[in-house]
Each structure stands twice: as C-alpha cells, then as structure tokens.
C-alpha cells in the first residue's frame, strides 16, 4: 500500500504564546515546535499498515524551513521519504489554500491512501484532510481510530460523539483523518535517526505548484479570550493554598 501522510509542525503544547505586534498571529520568536499530535497518530497508523501489508510511507508537509526538523522526525520514526513544500506564507492561506498545496504535491504520487490528523493544535480548523479528499476526488472518512485493509478496500472505525463508534467501509484510493489514541506512538530509534539523514526529502516551492493563494476567509485579528468567570486564585505555598481551597469549598461554595 502506498500511503501519503500529511503532517503539520505546530508550536509545542506547553509553549508560552504571545500575540504579535500586529495582532494577526502569535509572536514566533523563540517558540519551540513539534509534530501535531493527531498527525503523529496518522503517521503511526501508516507505519503499522506498511508493516502488515508492505508498501511505502511518504510524508508531506508545508511551511517554512523550520518544518525540516519535523519531517526528519517522521523519517526517523520510519517514513520512507518526504515532500517538503516550502511556503513562508502558510498563515495567510485559508484551509482551502493549504489543502490545494498539499493536494498538488500528493496527486502525482497516486497513493492508495492519504492520511492526516483530524485537526491541528494551533489553528484547530479540522478541515485539511476533508478538503484534500475533495480536491483529489477521493472518498473519505474522519475521526478514524482504526484502519483495516479488506478485499474491497478499507474497513475503518470512526469515533462518534459521547462514546459511540461506527464502522465504515470504503474503497481505495481513499483519504482518512485520524483521531489520536487509536495506537501507541513509537519513538524514533537511534538507528532510525541515523537512517533518516540519508532518506530523500524532495523540496517543492509553493509558487511552483500552480495553485491560487487568494484566501476566501481571513483571520483579521487575534485577541485574548474574555474570561467567562472571575477566578479566585489562591496564593501561598502548596499547603496554604490547599487549606484555603478547602475552606472556600466548605464555607463559600458549600460543595463539601
């Protein structure tokens, strides 16, 4: 099975984020980046499918030069090769614009399966995989926890709301967005890290992919959320704060 996994580099989960001077995005100075979590699960699913059925795993990612470290991480975990779409204005493109870039890079590969995480941790749009499927004319399913190859194509386990699930059958080629938690993530081995250095990373320039970059939807302004409740922060040492909290819960909130 030839599988393409679209991955995104996002600010590290614990990173302190500050709004930038223009209030258009966050200040990226000194930010640490990581592989988007559900994309890590998409990669894991792809690697396990390859281990069971053979084939090839290709990762594709769009972004500035720093994305290279995340691509190397995916190669170190076991992806066979990568496509890096060099794009310094990713944030100025909307979900359709980014999906067009990815679809243009994926199309010539003619994969049996396109996987990506269900949503990114930074923008949280949760649309890229579905739009890529639409642009490539592939059937798709979202929020997938488990993928099984069948005679006719694929049988997948889809998460529904409130603890419900559903099985969906679909033919290949297909596109799936992967929910986190379906598999246990692997770490890159020392050998893997070594091998990654020799693996092919094909560089594509966004401008050469011939896609329209004019956005339909614009992120005009980034703001701090308004607090929904006024929170009483209990100061002091751990012991003092704990004692104060018990007092509050007992006599003020009356919930103990």
């Amino acid at each position: 099975m030839k599988i393409v996994v679209a991955i995104k580099q996002v600010p590290e989960r614990d990173a302190q984020v500050r709004i930038d001077a223009a209030a258009k995005w966050i200040d990226e100075t000194g930010l640490q980046y990581a592989l988007n979590e559900s994309d890590a699960y998409a990669l894991e699913e792809a690697l396990q499918l390859k281990e069971k059925h053979g084939g090839e795993v290709i990762v594709v990612s769009a972004g500035p030069e720093r994305v290279g470290t995340t691509i190397r991480e995916a190669l170190a975990k076991g992806a066979d090769r990568a496509i890096a779409i060099d794009c310094n204005d990713l944030g100025a493109r909307d979900a359709l614009g980014v999906a067009k870039l990815l679809a243009a890079a994926i199309k010539p590969e003619n994969p049996d399966l396109v996987l990506t995480g269900l949503q990114s941790e930074d923008l949280g749009l949760g649309q890229t995989g579905v739009i890529v499927a639409e642009l490539l004319g592939l059937p798709h399913a979202t929020l997938i926890l488990h993928v099984e190859k069948t005679e006719a194509g694929l049988r997948v386990k889809r998460e529904l709301e409130e603890g419900w699930f559903q099985t969906i059958e679909l033919p290949t080629p297909a596109a799936l967005t992967i929910q986190s938690g379906g598999n246990k993530l692997r770490y890159a081995t020392l050998m893997g890290i070594k091998r990654a250095k020799t693996k092919e990373v094909r560089q594509l320039a966004a401008a050469d992919l011939g896609v329209d970059s004019a956005p339909v939807v614009l992120l005009e302004q980034v703001t701090l959320p308004r607090k929904q409740k006024s929170t009483q922060i209990l100061p002091g040492t751990a012991k003092e704060a704990a004692a104060a909290l018990v007092e509050k819960l007992k006599f003020e909130a009356r919930v103990l």
């Binding site: 579905v130 929910q179 209990l234 704990a242």
Partner: protein, 325 residues
C-alpha cells in the same frame, strides 16, 4: 434571494440540541443583517421533524429528501446540500459544529469554492466570526471575503436555544428532491455502537476529580486517586490520559467522552481545550490546579491554584482529610 440557511441535524429521530442552537445563531444573523431565515432538514423522511422546526419564527423549512439520505454519508449530504445551495443561493449557511458537520461541510464548502468558518463561538457586526485558536488560549476573528455563500458552523453551547420561540404561524414547508445516484455514494456506513459497557456513570456524580496531561506518567495516577478517595469523589480524566490507557475510556470527560455537571469539578493538570470544556462547563463549581497561569481552564474556574500539582495535590488530600475528621 439573499437569505440565511440553517442546516439542522437529527440524532436518533430528533433534532439535536445543537441544531436548535445553530438555528438561534442563524436567527440572530438574520435580524442583524435583515435577511430572511430558512432551515433545511436532510433525510429520507423529514416531515415530522420539519413540522417541529416550522413552529419557529422563520421563513421556510426545506425538506431535503431522498431514499439515499436515510443514513448519513459524506457523499450523500455533500451532493444534496450542494444542489440545494446552488438552487436557493443563500448568502449565509449556518451549521452546528458536530462530528457529522466536520465530516462533510469542509468538502461542501470547497466544492463551491468556499471555506467553512468552523467552531464559531461568537458573531459580531460585520459579520465577524470568532473562533478559538491554540486549544482555547487565544481567539481569532475571521471575516469572509469574495462572492458566494459564507459557511459557518457554531460550537455547542455558544448560542442559547433554551426558550423555544414560536412564530405567529407555522413556516412554509417546501420539498427539495436532490438528484443522487447510488454509485455517487462511495462509503458504506455501519450502525453506531457503544465502545464498551459503561459501568461508571460520571453524569450523576456530585464530586469529580479530573486529571489531565499534567500528571505526566501513569505511575503518578495514585496521587489523584488518593485525593478522590479523601473527597469521596469519582475520578475522571481528559482525553490524553485515556488515550494512553492510564485510566479507562469510560472515565473520559469531553466531546468524545461523558458530559458531566457535578457540584464540584476539580481539574488537575488539565489545560482546558474546548473538547474538554464542553464536557464539564455545566459544573456548579470548578477548581483548576495547573502550573500554567494562562491555561484556558482558568477561564471557567471559580477557584484556582497556580502551582506544581505534585506539591499541591498531596497537600490538598491532607487538608481534605483533616477537614473531614
């Protein structure tokens, strides 16, 4: 004619609550923009649901019916709504931000050269649509540009639909029969099933201690178990904890787990991503213990302790024990 079209969602033969919320958001947009509001319901047989929607003070209810729409498929819904939107040419299409809408609406919008503004929590004049960024740490204000309908999906709980307003007379119900061929539906959906037998009913728990990623390792779980025991509380968790199998899935709170509304919800090392907040924001009293003062959980907390949970939790367990004696 320019209008606001709200796409309702049914669940087990009823209009989902979030569907009414989407309708409330659509009605608000209609009055802000001076546009008539219609609703659409998609399925094989929609008449009784459409009649219920028609009691609301809106212009029209469109029954989008086809035998191939009996079960939800992304292909079926995308085709049906594409045809409806191309025929009715609404200026705005409002949807509830459900798993189902997330499955097809991005493709539907893309097919019409548009982009869905998803998971919207507020709509201001303009219209400017607010959605959350970076797991709820920041808000982003979005605007639609260009021609063609503007697609918006609204977050559960963001728009109130509690008082069912009724119209002076029922809205007009009009049928719409899309053209769908069986071979255009490429996926075969199975019946929904429950993951595992639910033996823990967090929904009726009065006191809940809930643990998140901040606990770092499975070996540290007993720390919060001790606190829950001292309080006589149920133990719950955010998604990453259950993904890692540190606690069973049935203890997960959030959009993919259980929805809870206890007297006390004590969130330990939980940052408060929206997927978690939707499952617990009905709690009477929320306490957050987190080392990050900017964690979004503090936005919904009544009391907070900013600090190292590995120091705070044992101290809190002791304080609770002392108070209980």
């Amino acid at each position: 004619m320019s209008s606001v079209l709200v796409v309702m969602e049914q669940r087990a033969g009823r209009i989902a609550r979030i569907g009414w919320e989407a309708l409330a958001a659509g009605q608000r947009m209609g009055s802000q923009l001076g546009l008539p509001v219609s609703a659409a319901i998609v399925g094989a047989q929609t008449e009784s649901l459409a009649a219920e929607i028609a009691t609301r003070p809106i212009d029209k209810v469109v029954c989008v019916e086809h035998p191939l729409l009996a079960h939800y498929t992304a292909d079926g819904f995308t085709l049906a709504l594409q045809q409806l939107i191309q025929t009715k040419t609404p200026a705005y299409v409002v949807l509830p931000h459900t798993y189902q809408v997330r499955d097809y609406a991005p493709a539907l919008a893309a097919r019409l050269g548009q982009v869905l503004i998803g998971d919207v929590v507020a709509i201001a004049d303009g219209p400017v649509f607010t959605r959350q960024l970076l797991q709820g740490r920041l808000n982003g204000n979005y605007r639609h540009s260009g021609s063609g309908p503007c697609f918006v999906s609204v977050q559960a709980g963001a728009f109130r639909a509690e008082i069912p307003e009724t119209g002076a007379r029922p809205a007009e119900m009009i049928p719409f029969a899309p053209t769908i061929e069986p071979n255009q539906i490429r996926t075969t959906p199975g019946e929904p099933f429950r993951g595992s037998a639910q033996t823990v009913d967090l929904g009726s728990a009065q006191l809940i201690v809930s643990v998140g990623r901040g606990i770092k390792e499975a070996e540290n779980i007993p720390l919060v178990q001790d606190l829950a025991k001292a309080l006589g509380a149920e133990l719950a968790a955010s998604r990453p904890i259950c993904d890692n199998c540190w606690l069973p899935l049935e203890r997960q709170v959030g959009s993919s787990g259980q929805t809870v509304s206890p007297k006390l919800y004590l969130a330990v090392g939980i940052s408060g991503a929206i997927q978690h907040l939707v499952g617990m924001k009905g709690s009477q009293c929320v306490v957050a213990i987190n080392k990050d003062p900017d964690a979004p959980i503090f936005e919904v907390a009544d009391y907070g302790i900013v600090g190292d949970l590995f120091e705070v939790i044992p101290a809190l367990t002791e304080a609770v024990k002392a108070a209980r004696q």
